[in-house]
């Protein structure tokens, strides 16, 4: 702190000084772990380190990461959304059917899916913000209702012959530009926007304040209900987009298993990414990395020729390790503070 900005100067030249570092410890550790795994996989498997392997890996990461961005915001506010799988089913089936029936153009298909997701998110948000019932109970309930709606729209039929419109976000050649998969780029773009929003705008910071202490946030004049509503709506919107990715990654047909069990996969990615389930702390970058880690484990286990079911075991272990490390860090911080308090 040798060069303190003089109070008269309107703004310091370097932004780094006025904000905490943009990348937190947990994210660096995740980057390191993923890098290590990639190196090990590259050395032990024939083709992990090839475009043909990395590209699909990134594409497969995208939907979980995308839904995870919304879930991160929800968890930062101290909530949770276990209805993500149900939302995915509804968004995917509506979009797929519309694609088949009307041959929608890409932007329209995306818009439709996102709108449907936003609507479902709005239902969650209204019930949670105004019903004053814990989010987990509401979303357990809406999960079942969404599944019902999805199944009703499926009407016991697989949607066949989906046009290749959404292949723009698929695994194939249509899904890449210069070898870079569109789905992942769009996910990164949205993650960057979310990161920027959460870090640099008042509205974004208010999510953290609400998760830290909703009562104090209300006293500070923050529109707590509005923010909570926004968090669930945003989750719905992103789940809508993620559903398009899921359609693109599947085949030309869509069956009702779409979205099944995805809520836990999304929560796992968020938690591995370092977001605190107690609220008030978390980052979307961590979530994207968490999703990438989980997908790396799943693909890695397959490519190593290990029993594919073992990947879940590793996911479990990663959750314990990631959160355990966080707990230890927190404990160390408290101990340090106590020592500091004693010294003062």
């Amino acid at each position: 702190m040798t060069t303190t900005a003089p109070p008269t100067s309107p703004r310091p030249t370097r932004r780094a000084r006025v904000l905490p570092p943009p990348i937190a410890g947990q994210e660096l550790v995740l980057v390191a772990v993923i890098a290590l795994m990639w190196v090990v996989l590259a050395l032990t498997t024939p083709a992990f380190a090839s475009a043909g392997s990395i590209q699909p890996l990134l594409v497969a990461t995208a939907p979980i990461a995308l839904a995870g961005i919304g879930m991160t915001i929800v968890i930062i506010t101290g909530g949770i959304d276990v209805s993500v799988g149900g939302m995915m089913m509804v968004c995917a089936v509506v979009t797929a059917k519309a694609l088949v029936a009307f041959e929608l153009a890409l932007p329209l298909a995306l818009g439709l899916s996102v709108a449907v997701g936003g609507l479902l998110g709005l239902v969650n948000g209204l019930l949670i913000a105004y019903g004053r019932v814990h989010a987990i109970i509401i979303t357990f309930g809406t999960m079942n209702v969404f599944l019902f709606v999805g199944l009703q729209i499926f009407a016991s039929r697989t949607v066949n012959g989906i046009p290749s419109t959404l292949q723009f976000f698929g695994r194939g050649v249509a899904g890449r530009t210069l070898g870079v998969p569109h789905a992942f780029v769009l996910t990164l773009l949205i993650a960057a926007i979310a990161w920027w929003y959460l870090r640099h705008t008042a509205g974004g910071r208010h999510f953290y304040a609400i998760g830290g202490d909703a009562q104090a946030a209300r006293l500070a004049g923050i529109d707590v209900r509005g923010r909570i509503l926004a968090a669930y709506v945003v989750t719905g919107l992103l789940v809508g987009l993620a559903s398009c990715f899921l359609i693109a990654q599947g085949t030309s047909s869509l069956d009702q298993s779409v979205g099944n069990g995805k809520e836990l996969a999304v929560i796992a990615a968020v938690v591995i990414g370092g977001t605190s389930i107690m609220g008030g702390r978390g980052s979307v970058l961590g979530t994207v990395l968490g999703a990438l880690l989980v997908q790396t484990v799943t693909s890695g286990v397959t490519q190593l020729g290990w029993p594919s079911q073992l990947s879940d075991l590793f996911v479990g272990i990663f959750i314990i390790v990631a959160v355990g490390a966080d707990l230890l860090r927190e404990r160390a911080r408290r101990r340090r503070l106590r020592a500091k308090g004693a010294a003062a």
């Binding site: 357990f140 969404f146 938690v271 879940d312 959750i319």
Partner: protein
Amino acid sequence: MSTSTQAPTPAGPDPAPRPAAAERGDSIGARALRAVLTQRITLLAVLIVVVVLSYVALDAGGYLTAPYDPDYLSASLINAVPLAMLALAELLVILSGRGGIDLSVGAIVALSGMVFGFMYGQWGWPLWLAVVATAGFGALCGALNGFLVAYIGFPALIATLATFYAFKSLAIVVNQQSPISTPPIQELYSLTRSVEIPVIGGQIPDVPLGIFTFLLPTVLIVWLLLARTTYGRRLYAVGTNDVASLWAGQPVRATRFGAYALAGLISGLVAVVTVAQFASARPDAGVSGNGMALPAITIAVLGGVAITGGIGRVAGVVLATLLIVWLNAGILLAFVGNEGSQYQLLALGVVLVAAALLNGFAGRRYGVAD
């Protein structure tokens, strides 16, 4: 200054809550309404009656594909056994407070089921020993959760999400994803068949044996544990206010740890029930489809267990199970084809959200916390 806004009222609202006054002064109708709105158990009881009567009326009107009669109600109780037992397991962990929840019960069922399959189906252990050992194994799995939550300080949702993945994976891998269905296992089905109750059995429907061999003992023991033992008292105390519990000299961590271990133990017993009910030890028993954990948590919450801990009763959980089981059984008769299973989802979701909202609303309206 001259216009003082309000004259000081001689007797302001008493801080002592209104309930006491309301209970005395109100008419029977108002009191009944109040009870239905604020007490989850009353609400559930009324709902069960409404549901059963509605189906019977539909049946009488010929809208059902088969009679909704006591025999059917009784036969459908077989579903209540694992559901209610796991909901009781969730009751214990949710009661313990600090966001207590157990997502791993289904995975424990799968893994202990395989262990039971090995012990009883392949190694030829005596039944009682295999059952005890399976329950013990389940308790061990639960103890891992309890250790992570109570002693290390993991949020329960995260610890049990992790063990859910781990146990699920191990259950599949442990026998190369094959179920175990040797003759001894197949014969276990007799444990869950319907039996005639002695003496009065001729007049009432046969009841699935699992009700007597597993569910009722578990209900009774959990009820006694919670309502009559020192452990139960400590669990409520810890769940209500763990700081006060510490100041009262109670072992907070051990109590919370115990809740998870017990939940694991019950899951181990459910594993035996499931193996018997399906006559095979399946590695995906508790995790296929939406798994067993989410319905169990849903039932517990519907039964009035407060997610914040310290509030919840065995009777509520049992009634919630009955409500859902009988509601679902009727839906299958009311909707033909695929619609039936789909409407079950809708019913579960709507009942859960409505009950939670109603209780929240009523709690504020009448100034009590349920």
